[in-house]
Amino acid sequence: MDFVCINDMLRDDELRSILSRLDNDKDKERFGLVCKRWLYLQSTERKKLSVRAGPHLLRKIAARFSRLVELDLSQSVSRSFHPGITDSDLAVIADGFKSLKVLNLQNCKGIADTGMVSIGCGLSSLQSLDVSYCRKLTDKGLSAVAEGCHDLRSLHLAGCRFVTDGLLQAISKNCCNLEELVLQGCTNISDIGITDLVNGCRNITFLDVNKCSNIGDTGIFSVSKACSASLKTLKLLDCYKVGDESLFSLAEFCKNLETLVIGGCRDISDESLKSLAAACKSSLKKLRMDWCLNISDSSMSCILTQCRNLEALDIGCCEQVTDAAFEGLGEIELSLKFLMVNCPKVTVAGIGMLLDRCTSLEYLDVRSCPHVTKVGCEEAGLQFPQCCKVNFLGSLNEMDVF
């Protein structure tokens, strides 16, 4: 009688099918212990890894997990004497992980332009790169990434303060599929760069230029017009040159806008905010407008009554807003889950009116409200929804909502 070994009869795709039915990571690892062939199948099935390793180990990892799609090498934010990932490590990565689509290098403070050039030359399938807070990087290295990685969809450059308009030009020429771009804290970029960017990149859904204080109405007008159908998230925190013109252009062109951060845009006034509320009334879900000192009850009321899908709202330090903004909400149910109302004139009465309409509220922040205290709310008999956390004194964890 012939003896047939099941391992010889089963083909690779049958074994892969078996492997895919294992839910437990431990079981998958045990699968790899059976024999070299099963180890190869298990290793090449692995799509994602988070590691901290030097060049020798990286080469071994690249050899074993050759079909890796996602690699997370991000480091901690705290000051450390250990340099972490270096440019030569990036050369090993660019050489070894040819199928890589997602690379996370957040806080890898040791890397510089040389490493980026390796990435640009080696990883042509790269779609997502996060080099937030890799402070040494300049246009030189990052342009090499843009020129080499044509399919880039997501690029995070927060804190890369040497980035200039030149890089935005390179991205515009090379990465037309770009959807997500984070330039928070890239203070050298200007309206010219942003206009160049959206000339080539017309599918942007997520644009973060928080703290880029040179950006103004001209740049935002270009963005509104070029990415009108795609734009869903726009972050303009402390872009103090952004004013009414920007909001009017968003209202005119961007009907799919879901998240807008205009905190610190001090020149924005009621008229433009009202037009935005009217235009984006079904799409708008998150609005952060703290420190908008010119906003008053009239536009606040429009936002609340018209934007029915609004889930998160921050109007901290909007000094002119009073309880009157929350009157006349009628019988509408607001979908608000996160509400930050740190306004000096708002009182317990105003909070009460809001609570009547916000039955889904999960988080309420009144930490800097001089007239709203825990005692005051209890005395007024305010009823907070079941799962709602209320921040009176800042003792709770902060929510990272916007």
Partner: protein, 106 residues
């Protein structure tokens, strides 16, 4: 004759936990809650408290009180955000009150 090797440090006045390097001092002429204070680019072994909007002498700011990580003594605050353009240079930096820190290793 003992020779002190190592960077000049500041420590918590209460428990001598090391909290800042002298090399990181930006300015010595700030006003804290109880007198003179120093502006540092970095602080270590501290806990940053919750953020609050405060009207300071120099305008509207978001600040967070800063505590010694060992004994929880309030040592000063961190500037998270500044409203005035001229004050934005302080963002991300730390104020430690002179009365709350002691020189170490000098």
């Amino acid at each position: 004759m003992g020779e002190i090797i190592g960077p000049r440090l500041y420590s918590c006045c209460n428990c001598r936990n090391h909290v800042a390097l002298h090399d990181d001092v930006i300015s010595k002429s700030f006003q804290g809650r109880n007198g003179r204070a120093f502006l540092f680019s970095h602080a270590m072994n501290i806990v940053v408290g919750p953020k609050e909007d405060r009207q300071l002498m120099t305008g509207l700011h978001t600040v967070a009180d800063v505590y010694c990580s060992d004994c929880r003594e309030v040592l000063g605050w961190k500037y998270e955000r500044a409203y005035e353009e001229t004050q934005k240079y302080k963002e991300g930096k730390f104020i430690l009150e002179k009365s709350k820190i002691a020189q170490e290793n000098w």
